[in-house]
């Protein structure tokens, strides 16, 4: 199922479709395994050995060990699965979001308290902002 999708122009967003699900299956199932406290202990004892259980690509393995949060999504990680690794590290969703967006937690929280990231300028990577003909039916 390669090819360009109509949602690929949404900036700063990875839609977790079949393409990403296939690429990230082992990575996400590793993250899922951290739901079990016994696995959390094993991973805590020796992260690299624990990861040998999962057929990760070298890039995915590095992204896990180095906690490259945005890269994990680029390599097929889903945000809810990736959050299991963040929760293992004791992080909140806001702390994870600040790392993905490359700002400090304080800056991220301040943005949220002031109303969040604006939709203006964030709807599409296309140079002409505004609704395309395909989404004109709401409103």
């Amino acid at each position: 199922m390669p090819g360009v999708r109509e949602y690929d122009d949404i900036p700063g967003t990875f839609v977790f479709d079949g393409r990403r699900s296939r690429a990230g299956y082992a990575l996400n199932m590793f993250c899922m395994s951290l739901s079990d406290p016994r696995n959390r202990e094993l991973f805590r004892d020796d992260e690299a050995t624990y990861l040998d259980r999962y057929p990760l690509t070298p890039e995915q393995r590095e992204a896990v060990l180095e906690r490259q949060w945005l890269r994990l999504l680029e390599l097929g990680g889903n945000i809810y699965y990736t959050f299991k690794l963040a929760a293992f590290d004791g992080m909140t969703f806001q702390q994870l979001a600040s790392k993905q967006t490359g700002v400090s937690e304080e800056e991220y929280v301040a943005m949220m308290v002031s109303g969040g990231r604006s939709i203006d300028g964030n709807r599409s990577r296309r140079t002409t902002e505004g609704p395309g003909p395909e989404d004109a039916d709401h409103g």
Binding site: K84, G116, R117, R123, H138
Partner: protein, 279 residues
């Protein structure tokens, strides 16, 4: 016959559950949101439902990528609370209603909605946070619960139109049940939010207000919102709002809006709450 006596739309933000569990609801950050809840809690105490059908999504807890049901109906007597990575929430376990749940299963499948049937599963914050929002911190939940988990994690989720039609089928199913249970249906998730990548933190309050107005007054119009529009305008996780259409479909075509509250922000999300009654 059994009857649907109310509809609740609410966000299911995990941080709300954490605030309740850690006794932080009076903190400066949390108080403005929790101060908006008493009218909703008074309403549901007055309605006093026997059963709540809670439409929610599992967040990689009961289900994983191993098996991805689009619509999963919980049939069990009892549902334990999921360990989402830092131990289960310290809230009461959820008691099911197997007899009504099996009636729903039979009615919905024969009505051509191909439900996945679940005899054993845990329930995560998607289900327990709405219970905390509406019921506070009781020793036991004052209602039986039938979980209806919808896939919104693996693209594509079911369409809004399909969700609305499923809600209508749930209404037919409840009304054909020979018991006299009074049922409240919850649609949960949303409002606008994005948790992932460089656009994380997106909130589009104007879009949300229009969504709330329309889901009350013109739900057929809401069924036409495309997945593309949800993801573009309400954020990649805002697509959860299709689940509100299951609730709305189970209500009468014309409804009375009993209560509405919104709050920006809760964690990463525009937090919404809507109470509807049939007319």
């Amino acid at each position: 016959m059994a009857e649907i006596v109310g509809g609740v739309g609410t966000s299911h933000i995990p941080a709300v559950g954490a605030a309740v569990d850690k006794g932080k609801t009076g903190d400066a950050y949390w108080k403005p949101y929790f101060d908006k809840l008493p009218p909703a809690r008074e309403w549901i105490a007055e309605v006093d439902p026997d059963v709540c059908i809670v439409v929610y999504n599992d967040h990689a807890n009961a289900f994983s990528l191993e098996l991805i049901p689009t619509f999963a109906l919980g049939l069990a007597e009892h549902f334990e609370i999921a360990d989402e990575g830092f131990g289960p929430r310290p809230v009461p376990a959820v008691e099911g209603h197997p007899e009504l749940a099996w009636h729903l299963a039979e009615s919905l499948i024969l009505d051509e909605f191909d439900m996945t049937l679940v005899n054993e599963m845990t329930v995560d914050h998607g289900l327990t946070v709405p219970l905390s929002v509406m019921f506070g911190e009781p020793d036991a939940w004052p209602t039986k619960v039938i979980p209806l988990a919808v896939n919104v994690v693996q693209y594509p989720p079911p369409t809004g139109h399909r969700c609305y039609r499923l809600g209508q089928a749930i209404r037919r199913a409840v009304e054909s049940y020979e018991g006299n249970e009074r049922v409240v249906i919850f649609g949960t998730g949303g409002l606008s939010h994005q948790l992932q990548a460089e656009r994380a933190g997106l909130i589009n309050a104007e879009w949300d207000y229009q969504f709330l107005d329309q889901i009350v007054a013109d739900p057929e119009a809401v069924t036409k919102i495309s997945h593309l529009e949800y993801m573009r305008d309400a954020g990649s996780e805002g697509i959860e709002l299709v689940m509100w259409l299951i609730m709305r479909g189970a209500m009468s075509p014309t409804v009375r809006e009993v209560y509405r509250a919104t709050h920006v922000p809760t964690s990463n999300t525009h937090n919404g709450l809507l109470i509807l009654e049939n007319v």
